[in-house]
Subunit: 155 residues, 10 copies
């Protein structure tokens, strides 16, 4: 079984201060993002994005997080009830190969997406804000695993 | 009805030479990428990627393209039966807002994707090569359109 | 009286091909953007943005433009009824001092805007797409001119 | 109700030292920028700009700030009665989506603004120094919120 | 005697089209910038800046230029009676050693100038637009030549 | 009266260690650069450049500085009797608007200066090392202040 | 005999925290990568990559490492049983000459490799993930040493 | 069977002029790099490197090339008997995914290679000039293809 | 015998127009830089620098060049009797390995040179303008060739 | 007499840890690089390069250094008997004017060196590794000092 994701703050010095608190508690409680996402009723990616300071935790999220991670709500609330300063987790171009592959998809297929989206929807853009995304795992008949990422944005 | 996508070569000087031939014929025949994709039996994004020199056209694709675009197969074949020099269509960071939104998703959610993928699949990457992608249009009950992009890559 | 704005294509090689046609006709007809905007019923900035290939001209815009600029509608329509490839007119950071001043405002006040907008609207962004903008001229009692730029974006 | 804006110094290591003192006091006193701006008699954006070290606080501003934030004037004065070292708060291009949208407006409309300003005012620039700016909230009849940013600069 | 300055357009592809016309005529008429500046009643630097497309020629300048350079006024006027697109002549950091030395002065003394200007004038900036500049030659008693550049900008 | 210039080391982490000592003493003694320059018999810009680690203090300068700033000469001497590591105070392009304006002058007028200097002096450069510079304040009859910067370099 | 490789954390601040622990123990035990690789049954490059945080140590690797380096397994396991955040050890372009030479090979021969690989394998890529690599030393008859690096990646 | 590699000069404007002549002849004669390398008695990568202007063709190579490609030796010789201006074929970081994978190997394993090479050979570098390289194809028992790249450089 | 150096203008589009004329004539006359330098009485590097537009040819140089290259002096003189626009021949960082090695020497030994020069000469710089340089070839007793580059600059 | 070179670690945070120890001892013992080089029997530049972590100290060098600097050999040896991580002392392009002048020589004369070296030695490079360099001081009859830098590299 793969290990759970942890945070090495020496590698991520610009994340918000609560990120290390959340990751430390997650490790201690041995919870996966899937576990936490189920408790929050949010997608796993949105859940992880909260941990990396890229998404806002609602008051309800805060209640759940402090409970399942056994973190003091009164201490957590002022740290996390903030407006995220987005975009600081990934230095572009990404150096990590997994994240680079996503960047490469934009580099290679950017105009293909634009062309298809424009012909389907007319001029405009897909919002990256009114936006949800999820990751699923599929296994084909040969036993190969496929990662399926879905991006859904308001036009 | 939105117009069809065309190519302004003064804005895309580094695309392969056949790109302008394909786009010119597409305009003349008034075909959308949806029309062409249906003939090719490929996704619309893969179809557009061929037009932008980002994906390989198979011999069968070449037959269909030369037929529906009324382009001489003997002239088209040596131009298009080549190995694509990928990544030249988009200058990074992307300047066009639609393509930038995809880049921004990678910038904001990169580590969230990595974390969820790692916990689901272990160490490794999602291939950007053994990879397919599609774009769909959904309309919700309030009449809002949503663009749904699916990325499926082998782990 | 200040001259009208013209386009030197040797300085703007990546604009769409119709930009030079529009600017040439504008010079010939001695029309200001204010004149053209009045005919189009659009803001002057939106009008100029069409000339620089940054905004879409509607079919009605095309009718008006071809009429007041005396450009053949049948020739203009296929060139201009396209999806704009936005962001190609300004190289960042901008070198022209006037445009640099706008860039500098973002550089200096970026977090101040974010802070005030977040406190007023909560988490989210001001759209740069569902967006309108205008420029006005005010003269104070000492005879000094002030440029007033208004940006209005959907939250 | 959205939370008040706070400052995470691990994400903003290059702001002046008084920024963290001001933000900490603002949080403690639960004051919004709107509240503080009303006391200072300045726009909310100018108020926030003082907090981020981008604008000068006058001696009167210092009196008001030390009073409403309950910070010792004798300690605050030498820290804040300084010449701001502007431009250090935002790394360009901005990574945060909200600030990026403002950058994108400059990237897309830069020459359109220049063209309209030049035709209206002749050659010259709009000052980014003899300059004021404000943010307003409008709600249309469909209940949508619109952010309206006004930039006013001497020509 | 040193030669006159000429323009090699293969090295300056982004200058406005009239630059090469002006430089060609200047060579033909064997006029120095000092000669031309005397006719225009402007500083030599401002005169050269017109040639490089960095400054506006007034209608009177245009009359003088077309006369002393023997260029047809009717042909020159539409080319030169334009708003300059400033900043395109020098790629930063400058590669030419002479221009680099000026850049180096800003790099080394930037904060020293800011400190002295702030203490002398208070917060604010020296305008680079309401601005004049000149170059003078001084020879000391040892026969050494010194270049003296004066920058004068409104505060 | 404008405040004296101070140094916020959190904004200037790469200056030499003596910079903060000098600035702290200058604040304590309430001395302007004009005051200190008068004592040193050097220009104000050269004086400020010593404070920012961009110029060498001579043994005589050290004597004067330790006296008027009441800093222990024996402690100051080993820190300051060093070869300056120039160029570390300003990150290029400069973000502070005042320093950017000087950069902009080089960007806009670089080739104009080169042209005029070449015609006046022949091929060569103006030294940025055998070089002196000063700042003066002029007030015109309308009460406007003008900053006059003079650069004098050996050819 | 050349010394063993050590880690100067002041030169590598972004490596994971366990890197310094591993390198310190390696120095203390005077083990070469060849020694450690033999114990792990992995290539020397893969072994070194674990030390630099670029490759995953399996549970078996962890057992061996804690034993031969005499590091407490219970302390090491949570630090090292993580998903590597790859790509952080080398800043590109590499400044160290040895690593630059590898970069230079890609810069010079990149398209030659692509051409030969494409003709041999068709369109596709060599994986950098399903990938192994080793370094060998050969000495020719003149006594010259040759480094032989082998890269083997799945197509 | 995969197609042969061709050259699209609109995508490679900075290659030497003979590159397009060589590639055109190679297409016409339907020769693979393997074919040509066999005639030259050089590795396929070295052969392709000649075509991309990255390696020198010896007089013997020139004889063979002009013969098998049926290109006039007298015309080819002055074009190709030149010193290569290396490094112009790949823009770094590489955009093409195949070439990027090689770049990524340097980015990820750079210090691992350095560490192993240093321990094996002492201080020094592997030459990228006294250097040979080859590409081989291996097929494992499951029918998977593996690309094996060998780099051999003098220490 | 190695070939003579030629110029491929498709690889050097920004050199002055006379560069291609000089190189073409040099090839035709089969002259090495050593030959030409001997005629000019200048170092070979200075001679080559004239060919690349980096150094000024004196009137005497022009006489000699037009004679030995059999180029019409009246045509050559206006092209070459110009002020060089230096620095345009090499894009930094250099991609060609030979030039990169010189860059690498500056990168590695920059502060070592500064330290030794400062201790030998005091504060100051070695001029890159009052400067001469030469290249010599030495062969040691083992038959190895060594390139010796000497830089001599006024302090 | 000019002072000795010291090290301000706040300006050089990425040098190896032993650099500050060596420089501190050098200051204390009032030794110049010339003094130390004489003891080591190496060139002054190589000596300084050891201090900046750019060159390897041999066991003999270590003996001499610990003796003349009165540093404990047992403490120094593990710190300094390492493989240098070269290239970290100078950020490119160099900001210090003295080092920039060397960079400028490469930028201006790069292709002139390549041309002369190629004609003298054929295709190849001058090694920056099998390489020695020295600095000498010459005084001409007018009393001007000249710095003479010699680079000698194996071809």
């Amino acid at each position: 079984m793969p290990p759970l994701v942890t945070l090495d703050t020496s590698q991520h010095p610009y994340l918000p201060q609560y990120s290390s608190a959340l990751f430390a508690a997650k490790s201690l409680k041995k919870l996966s993002f899937e576990d936490i996402a189920r408790h929050l009723g949010r997608s796993e990616v949105a859940t992880a994005a909260i941990f990396y300071g890229q998404a806002t935790a609602s008051p309800e999220d805060l209640q759940v997080l402090s409970k399942i991670l056994e973190l003091d709500h009164a201490a957590l609330e002022p740290l996390m009830n903030v407006f995220p300063d987005r975009g600081r987790s990934v230095e572009m171009p990404p150096k990590d190969p997994l994240i680079y592959r996503l960047y490469e998809i934009v580099q290679n297929y950017g105009y293909a997406y634009k062309a298809v989206l424009n012909e389907k929807f007319g001029d405009g853009i897909m919002s990256a804000i009114s936006f949800s995304t999820k990751v699923e795992k599929e296994t084909d008949q040969d036993g190969n695993n496929w990662a399926v990422i879905t991006l859904k944005g308001k036009w």
